[in-house]
């Protein structure tokens, strides 16, 4: 439990879970708390160290999630994830990852994603569950049922409003604004507007002095796409010079754009391997230029290498050898457009089950050198979900005589099999007895299909004798 001086009194400022179950909550005078529970463990609160720790956490979030992160003292972080969530997959994935990782390091975190800072702030603190995601445009409905304490007003003001019967934001929102402002000051109205996105809110992003960056301020605001492209090129050149001096290559670049009206925008691009090539990095950023809304003009652009890895000098080429074009640039460009998980290479896995025989790795992962055994025929197309077919077949180990797939009946002319595949009992209990018998069958026209029967045809525990079509041979 933490305690601090507030005027002449000592108050409880934070209580852990055990203390809260004993009925001790922040705001309680310390003397009263000690009277209730005599053997309390009390530490002096240290707001300065708390803020420093929060900033450290914020910088971690910059490296991991998005370029624009601000601290929201005493206990919050604000992340501007616009344009950055796709690198993690989706907003949901990002939020869950944040909660998981905080939990792993002993912090309990609650995350809310909303259109406005005010809404996200309130939802994160007053919804009872770890992750809240408000779809775009759903802010009004989402914040309506929240208590007015979610509006970032000080405790005394909240208390006065509560005494007048205001409990939720919806009630406050429905009240005429003028009398409210007259009685409680302009703050209530401003917070309401900020939560609903009617009023812009300043956002002071954290910067990490360790990261390598380049920035450029403009005497005259710029807005044209060509001008922005030119200055991106200059920033990248400056950044690459510094990276070179430090012997580093960029894995991720953040371009932050400061608009004349105070708005901030960020573009984040990633590379699959550390890179220091001006042309390639410029292209990655210029590809995203259409996402920039310059508004009334841009007055400052800063480019930060938020993730770097050591990259030594490389020999460009030797005499007489044709230059080998590096495809890493292409992989990065496509990865930034479609998402890094949409670009992959296949690696062989030692498993007889076709679904598990393939694993996907990063497109630029070192070659494994392994391939699949060539003893058994494998189709060139495999259905993600085997499709049930109706068949006529003799038990226990004959291929079907005919089968009906997608409404077309096919007579089997030739067949090969069975290839028996056993369930992987070490993975799941349900697979302990499971058996599949695979057959390659050819119909009269010459189309070749991969069918399997679930079960060995004798023991009902191995499967229910349903037939499935799993793939098509060429």
């Amino acid at each position: 439990m933490l305690a601090a001086l507030d005027g002449a009194r000592r108050l409880v400022t934070a209580a852990d879970h055990a203390a809260q179950t004993l009925g001790l909550a922040p705001g309680l005078p310390l003397a009263q708390a000690q009277a209730r529970v005599p053997d309390l463990h009390i530490e002096a609160a240290d707001p300065v160290a708390d803020l420093a720790a929060l900033e450290r956490l914020g910088l971690w979030a910059v490296r991991r999630y998005c370029p624009l992160v601000a601290v929201d003292p005493p206990d919050g972080l604000l992340l501007d994830i616009a344009g950055a969530a796709h690198l993690m997959g989706s907003e949901q994935v990002l939020a869950e990852d944040l909660v998981q990782r905080s939990r792993a390091s002993g912090l309990s975190a609650r995350v809310a994603i909303a259109d406005t800072i005010g809404a996200a702030h309130g939802l994160a603190r007053f919804m009872g569950w770890p992750v809240t995601i408000v779809p775009p445009g759903g802010t009004r409905a989402a914040v309506a049922p929240l208590p007015i304490a979610a509006l970032r007003l000080d405790a005394a003001l909240v208390d006065r409003l509560r005494r007048l019967g205001f409990d939720t934001i919806a009630e406050l929102e429905a009240t005429p604004r003028a009398p409210l402002a007259l009685r409680f000051g302009a703050l209530v109205g401003r917070r309401l507007d900020q939560a609903h996105g009617r009023l812009a809110e300043p956002f002071e992003p954290l910067t990490d002095p360790i990261l390598i960056d380049a920035r450029r301020a403009f005497a005259e605001p710029i807005a044209a796409a060509e001008t922005i492209t030119r200055y991106i090129g200059k920033l990248v050149t400056a950044l690459v010079e510094r990276l070179e001096a430090a012997g580093l290559g960029a894995r991720r670049l953040d371009l932050v754009i400061h608009r004349v009206d105070g708005g901030l925008q960020a573009i984040r691009v990633g590379t699959a391997a550390p890179a220091r090539d001006v042309r390639r990095l410029t292209r990655l950023l210029v590809d995203k230029i259409e996402t920039i809304d310059p508004g009334f003009g841009i007055e400052l652009m800063s480019l930060t290498a938020s993730l770097t890895e050591p990259l030594g000098a490389q020999q460009v080429g030797t005499l007489g050898e044709p230059p080998v074009t590096d495809i890493a640039g292409l992989v990065d460009a496509l990865g930034n457009r479609f998402g890094p998980d949409k670009l992959y290479r296949a690696v062989a896995v030692q498993s007889d089950l076709p679904e598990r025989a393939v694993r996907h790795v990063s497109a630029l992962a070192p070659p494994s050198g392994e391939t699949w055994p060539q003893r058994w025929p494998r189709p060139s197309r495999l259905f993600a979900k085997p499709e049930p077919v109706e068949t006529l077949a003799l038990l226990p180990d004959q291929p079907p005589v005919q089968f009906t797939w997608r409404g077309v009946r096919r007579r089997v002319k030739r067949a090969d099999g069975p290839e028996r595949v056993f369930g992987e009992w070490w993975r799941r209990d349900a697979e302990r007895a499971a058996v599949r018998d695979y057959f390659m069958v050819e119909d009269e026209a010459g189309e070749r299909f991969w069918l399997f029967r679930s079960g060995d045809g004798e023991d009902p525990a191995t499967g229910d004798l349903t037939w499935y079509l799993h793939g098509i041979f060429g």
Binding site: L330, L343, P377, R378, F473
Partner: protein, 252 residues
């Protein structure tokens, strides 16, 4: 053909190549190592640095299993990395590895829709450094194919478009002209008969529907082996059996 005629022909070819803006003699080709096929192709093989269209016949127009293997067999015989753009995940990599396309060489891109696949194809063709680029699309317009063909010519990367449609009826679209260098249709045929029960080496009916500066042709071939080579069926190689005559040619 007389000597004078041949010289005149070579001269004309050089003139055409100059008009098309590529240096004469740069056209490289990958032979199929089946003389019956290579004889019918200009430069004695599949032109590298061009765009080729491959589609499946009958049900293959939908799943494109044979078309994918035919393409993979060609790529297996080239050196270097390959980019394969698909709409969704249904390729089975062990099947492609069985015709010699090693998994370490192939980068798959799930681009989601035709528009993105064409974008991805053009960008990778322009980039160079790849042995081949494959895209699976249903619609390929003249403009789109022209862009891809020019990109392939400029960089020397060979491009393949596997045409797949939602239903076999939509495959009539394959009759529309495109700027591709060649256009192939690969249809599964009953496999080579075995003296015992079982499925022998698969066979394909391979049609060359369009070939720039060449003629149409069709062959009955044995499917790609573990090195990616197609072969002439043994019972047809010595001419003891008449080859299947011009089946399904009317569509072109």
């Amino acid at each position: 053909m007389g000597q004078a005629q041949e010289i005149a022909l070579a001269d004309l070819r050089a003139q055409i190549a100059r008009l098309e803006g590529r240096p004469h003699g740069s056209a490289q080709a990958l032979p199929f190592a089946v003389s019956a096929v290579d004889r019918r192709l200009p430069h004695g093989g599949l032109a590298l640095g061009g765009l080729h269209e491959v589609a499946g016949g009958s049900l293959g127009a939908v799943h494109g299993a044979a078309a994918a293997l035919f393409t993979a067999g060609i790529l297996a015989r080239l050196q270097g990395p390959v980019l394969w753009c698909v709409r969704a995940r249904d390729l089975f990599e062990p099947g492609l590895a069985a015709v010699g396309l090693h998994p370490d060489r192939v980068i798959y891109v799930e681009a989601g829709n035709d528009k993105n696949i064409l974008l991805c194809l053009e960008e990778s063709l322009r980039h160079g450094g790849l042995a081949g680029v494959v895209g699976e699309v249903s619609l390929l317009t003249m403009t789109a194919s022209r862009r891809l063909q020019l990109a392939a010519e400029a960089s020397g990367v060979t491009g393949f478009v596997i045409r797949r449609w939602r239903n076999p009826a939509a495959a009539a679209d394959f009759g529309q002209p495109t700027a591709a260098t060649t256009r192939w249709r690969v249809t599964a045929l009953p496999s080579t008969p075995l003296p015992v029960a079982g499925v022998g080496r698969p066979r394909w009916f391979v049609e060359l529907i369009r070939s720039r500066a060449g003629e149409c042709a069709d062959w009955e071939l044995e499917a790609c082996d573990a090195q990616g080579f197609v072969a002439l069926p043994a019972d047809l190689a010595d001419g003891s059996l008449a080859p299947a005559a011009g089946r399904g040619r009317a569509v072109a």
